[in-house]
Symmetry: C2
Subunit: 322 residues, 2 copies
């Protein structure tokens, strides 16, 4: 486990105007880390700009500070003392305006993704961390930030989201101690879990029931596929964002080593999420299809294909691995 | 948050032969706490007897030390220096042999249930604790027990089971710090979560899909019922123990304040589990039907009735509360 490089501390301490971004389609760790770092640097008297390509999804709009996000790109010649990207493993995931972000110098990346593709001037990448939130917590401590309820709330959300509530292999004693400290600021675990995990609409539960019915098993039940079609969204009234965490159901099967969730998207792509247990490395599989992620959690998207074709293509890659 | 009374420490320190029991149908907290305390007292050189009315269910038989459990009652005149019950809130839940257990003196109760009905000579009851496991951890520290991997594994399982992996309101900073310490002994959160949460059989997932289809909502979707019949068990090949945690699905609905799971049992009872969010007190409701539990998690069983009748009777009690 590494600590933030002295150069990053020095640059942040010296900066007055800071731009902070994260990856597109931000999850709880991305957005929670971005907002917490924003609050932290503001508390140190800095002028902070929080950039996000798209508006916050309804799933995460409970996070304090979402209203501070700007969805327009800062001007190229706008002067920032530094720009920081949190939780982004690849410049392509900075979004359509990646070039207009990276041009701001020095550009700092803070990230915990396995296979992080360096794109910043200075990077603090630690794949042994549970979450970017855990890294931002340590950074705040070193910067002498006085944590507030809002920062603790955002950081707890970040850690919770990326550990699946302390269930995943990335949960370390340090993760737990950081979480304990954050609870001291009045954060209520049940409240945040309520927002993240127990926030189902009735349509979402109906969709879950339909998606569970699509379960298909291969390789002595070691490979499990589920899928969702646009027709199922129409029939249940559920939204694409409602499928978050559905992959955990096939993953929860005792026999399963790799779980795959195939989704038709509104823009006619097939979106693929994979979760592995044990030694199977799905990040490598995802990269073969132009995607990426962690060893145990990776994905990609493909145009001009069908759920059936993707399943067949993936099976060819996965069967030798289980 | 209270610490173990000095008298309990003194009695345990002085004891050479100790009988340890827990509640019937033991869950992860009950069995994990019992086994951990057994290992701990053995490590202090004591002779330990671990009693359980029935054999360990397949759901929990991953716990180390299960083979040490005895299912026959010790003789009434068998001399124990003390008997300890962990995680049991009511003498009736000690099982058919409750009288033959309590006759062993001094009888010590260590428990965290709200509405604990005193039955022991000396009790340490702390309803602010997440789990009995958290209490046994503190007890071990005070007794000077050198924790081992097995004890840490059992205690982590206990805490994990009763906090739903640190999701419930009972999760405190202390709970998190205890968990952090336990991880230092080499416990892998993902491994134990795998046993407790990701251990579905394919039949169990099929049953889940069928049970989700039974969802019924009342009071502007604030009260959610699901149920399972013996016919559904037969059709899916799933077992009664497979329904563990199904109640979390109706509970996860944003609009729901009380979730109820009605189950037909093989001995022709209707078993009722209730989970509340927020201020609704389901322990009081359960007591009105002869059951018990925590404010947010309670239950009871009724003979000579049907799922439909129990639903109607419960609705009368619940409608004024939401």
């Amino acid at each position: 486990m590494s600590q933030p490089p002295a150069e990053i501390i020095k640059l942040i301490k010296a900066a007055n105007r800071v731009l902070i971004s994260t990856h597109i389609f931000p999850d709880g760790d991305a957005l929670g880390s971005q907002l917490a770092l924003g609050y932290a640097l503001e508390s140190l008297g800095k002028e902070v700009y929080l950039y996000s390509e798209e508006p916050v999804s309804y799933i995460l709009d409970f996070l304090p500070g979402c209203d501070k996000l700007i969805t327009f790109l800062p001007e190229r010649n706008d002067h920032f003392d530094c720009a920081i990207s949190v939780d982004c493993g690849d410049s392509r995931r900075l979004g359509a305006g990646a070039d207009d972000l990276i041009c701001h110098s020095p550009f700092i990346a803070i990230d915990h993704h396995t296979g992080h593709q360096k794109f910043a001037d200075i990077s603090w990448v630690d794949q042994h961390r549970s979450s970017s939130g855990e890294m931002i917590y340590d950074l705040c401590r070193i910067l002498g930030v006085k944590l507030t309820y809002e920062m603790a709330f955002c950081l707890y959300t970040a850690i919770l989201a990326d550990t699946g509530s302390f269930k995943y292999e990335n949960t370390s004693p340090h993760t737990m101690r950081v979480a304990a400290d954050l609870l001291e600021y009045g954060v209520k675990p049940a409240e945040i879990c309520g927002y993240i995990f127990d926030n189902y609409s009735i349509n979402r539960l109906r969709l879950l029931q339909e998606v569970l019915a699509t379960l298909e098993l291969f390789a002595d039940d070691a490979i499990a596929f589920i899928h969702v079609t646009n027709e199922l969204f129409d029939r249940t009234g559920a939204l694409p964002a409602d499928t978050e965490l559905f992959i955990n159901f096939p993953r929860s099967l005792k026999s399963v080593k790799v779980a795959i969730f195939l989704k038709e998207t509104v823009d006619d792509l097939i979106s693929v999420s994979m979760r592995a247990k044990g030694e199977v490395d799905v990040a490598t599989v995802a990269r073969a299809f132009g995607g990426g992620g962690h060893v145990n959690a990776a994905g990609f998207k493909l145009p001009d294909t069908t759920i059936d074709d993707v399943r067949q293509d993936l099976l060819k890659k996965l069967l030798p691995l289980v």
